[in-house]
Amino acid sequence: MTDAKTQIEETVKANDVVLYMKGTKSMPQCGFSSRVAGVLNFMGVDYADVNVLTDDAIRQGIKDYSDWPTIPQLYVKGEFVGGCDIITEMTLSGELDTLFDENGVAYDKDAADKIREANA
């Protein structure tokens, strides 16, 4: 097991919600990362952000870990949920709410509804 994989496993197990992204939740450095972080921020989700731009081993390691070629990547309770397109679709369809409900992740339901209203 590589160091990067060990580190990733520890991070996704230690935090209920983790976003691997380019930049940070307060300063995203890519439009796709920004979109997912923006949704989570707006919904008031408590999540850990990992900036892959500061660590090449993690940047490649997270792609190998999930067998997924792009970043951002969202993990809930250690499980890979998806990238930007999937999270966007799940937000608009309400599936993300369901996923959070099922996993006991706190979020602002009214804010989630507002996102859907704005994109209806």
Binding site: K63, W68, P69, T70, G82, C84, D85, I86, M90
Partner: protein, 78 residues
């Protein structure tokens, strides 16, 4: 090397011959694609999109990958 929408469609078509494929965008590195295929039925979105990424055979890989961004929509036919 920049790619053309047709190359992306051809790669996806090779893996999913009966899929309905719509590729848009032509700046060479940023594309969006919608792929509708019967084989997606019963798969979640992650599994569906992994199948498409697999068809692209590493074109998405790494900072030097040919494709920087591919906005994907996948589903089974209604």
């Amino acid at each position: 090397m920049p790619m053309h929408a047709q190359e992306i469609e051809d790669l996806i078509r090779a893996a999913l011959p009966d899929a309905k494929i719509t590729v848009e965008g032509d700046d060479g590195v940023h594309f969006s694609a919608e792929v509708i295929d019967e084989s997606f039925r019963g798969m979640n979105r992650v599994q569906q999109q992994r199948a498409v990424y697999a068809a692209l055979k590493g074109k998405m890989d790494g900072p030097n990958g040919d494709l920087h961004a591919l906005a994907l929509t996948t589903k089974a036919p209604d």
